[in-house]
Symmetry: C2
DNA sequence: CTGAAAGCGCTAACAA
DNA sequence: TTGTTAGCGCTTTCAG
């Protein structure tokens, strides 16, 4: 394999022109004679020449690649987002380099550093709230960044996410309207934006309705924590009628706990989740949840990043006001069996 | 942001040495005076210098990145594989660029071309069996490739996958031992390696046991096809006692069909899947399936690719015998509720 | 309309 | 132990 790479030089030679002329036709520049253009194109075909993006990047100072930094592609929320990003990127001939960080600050830093060394044109970041350093360093350079799903407080970078607070607020209100009075919440980790905001939305709805019963168990977005919280909640003297989990994975953990303890869902205890991951309509009973537009989150994030990138190359110094705007998407309630409370209606 | 990039030149200047000396300390080369080395390191720190991998790639003819081409990251099988790959890659400071193809030949070609133009050091490919062109072109160049999960017939590239045939064979035998006599199969698409092989394994087991009942419905690995096949199978005059689906998604489609028709699983009809995707123990009843070591598939694929890459840079011409060896991983039966046939035991 | 040449940031001979 | 220099493959002035 080594040594047999076909370069612009080879094709220039074979076509009997200079490399600059070849470069011109490669980049569809004007001012090339039709005859020579055709001849060159033919040689390109014949030799099956593929331009070298690394060399182009070198001179253009642009790699046509972006970095995607997420906690864990194995978390069912992210594949759909990633697919949205990659589809949008592919459409513009952009490459996406992805890395998993498990929300560990150290890994986040390393991932971003490596991406930067690889000179990605921009970054889509879903990192912990504590990780200010990274963000602020990037901001100093006006480096194109879009925050996804989560965001770092005080960062001026645009973010693309759902309105977590109002989503949880909507969810809680819906449960209230259904007649539930004792609604407990299994929260997400409080150092993540969605975890924090959803809890706030939950509380807001209860307070506005003057509900006395407010109970939060701290989870971490993983199934196990949903399981454990549910065990606690069920053992409590004042156990809830329904558990609203901050995400579907924890709701499924709750399912397991209920099954083990012999509680029937939704008759003995109802459950609601958040995110509408693929599994949620496959479990028994199907889970009521708030649907997040995951794929769109991804495509929109990429489009904004691209705008940012192009903007960036034109100007010397950027004003945060010139950054693309943040965008908030809305969630939709997906009403399924897990909150069908027959008892309440009867009672 | 433009123009403020710190280069090796800047740090050479500030340290009062030549760029080659800086390069030496950057790459941990010997023969640098300890004093100057320290001084240079200090400047590197101060200026927060990050080496430019694009420039390095240019001269080293190595990008320290690989390409991952898969059908769809949204298919629950792939995130775990991808995570395995990325973890292994991260460990060696390699970047992974991924792209989705939906198993479309055109997209597969485009993805590989783009990756090649980006000069990835190697490729992990999960593409359709029909796509010979790509593979053979790559083979001509001895370009490092590992085939994952699927493979292209006649390709000499190493593959990392499970033994699909024997896995389906084991599964079917297990059902036979349980006392099931009428076992139907919902197959995967027959132009994919796993789809084809699993069907063969299923048939082999039945034939070896002289079973008269052999029934295959063609699916495409997606939930909907599992649903449709199940509808057909249940309506059949000779309906099966159990349906063995070639993957879990189709098995879940079968669940839906059964529920709609009022068939109880496993009492009225039993169901078995393949892959053990995350959902499979969350559905009701939990699904009996063959567990694939997805994460390991990923890590092993990367390790083999890395070996290939390093091998490749040393030799001029490679012999296929020098390629890393293919590896077959084994699946494990995960026995859950969906195949608990009480009727058979009683009868 | 076309070619020559500089240069992107870095590494690796080769000299000193 | 260190510096000078060529060159990786390409784009882009600047001349012709």
């Amino acid at each position: 394999m080594p040594g047999n790479k076909i370069t612009i030089k080879d094709i220039a030679q074979k076509a009997g022109v200079s490399i600059s002329t070849v470069s011109r036709v490669l980049n569809d520049k004007p001012d090339v004679d039709d005859q020579t253009k055709e001849a060159i194109k033919k040689v390109i075909e014949e030799l099956n020449y593929q331009p070298d993006n690394i060399a182009r990047s070198m001179v253009l100072d642009k790699t046509f690649s972006i970095g995607l930094v997420i906690p864990n592609i194995t978390n069912p929320f992210f594949p759909e987002v990633a697919r949205g990003i990659e589809d949008a990127a592919q459409d513009k001939s952009y490459s996406v380099i992805f890395s998993n960080t498990d929300s560990k600050i150290k890994k986040e830093k390393e991932a971003v550093d490596l991406l930067l060394q690889n000179r990605v044109d921009g970054l889509i970041l879903s990192i912990s709230m504590e990780n200010n350093d990274i963000i602020f360093e990037l901001e100093n350079k006006d480096f194109p960044v879009i925050q996804l799903d989560r965001n770092v407080p005080d960062s001026i970078y645009p973010s693309v996410m759902i309105d977590n607070k109002s989503s949880a607020y909507k969810a809680t209100n819906y449960l209230l309207k259904k007649g539930y009075k004792k609604i407990a919440h299994i929260s997400g980790p409080q150092n993540t934006f969605p975890g924090l905001q959803r809890k706030i939305g939950y509380k807001k709805a209860l307070k506005e309705n003057n509900m006395g019963y407010i109970k939060v168990c701290k989870g971490d977005f993983r199934k196990k924590s949903g399981y454990e919280c549910t065990e606690k909640l069920l053992n409590d003297t004042k156990s809830p009628e329904i558990i609203f989990a901050a995400n579907d994975m924890m709701a499924l953990g709750a399912y397991n706990a209920c099954k083990e303890k012999g509680y029937k869902i939704p008759d003995d205890i109802a459950i609601m989740g958040h995110d509408n991951i693929g599994i949620s309509d496959l479990v028994e009973p199907p889970l009521t949840t708030m649907d997040q537009p995951k794929y769109e989150l991804g495509t929109i994030a990429f489009e904004k990043l691209l705008k940012f990138i192009n903007l960036n190359s034109k100007n010397e110094h950027l004003n945060p006001e010139q950054y693309p705007e943040s965008q908030t998407l809305f969630t939709n309630l997906v009403d399924r069996e897990s909150t069908k409370n027959n008892n309440l209606r009867k009672g």
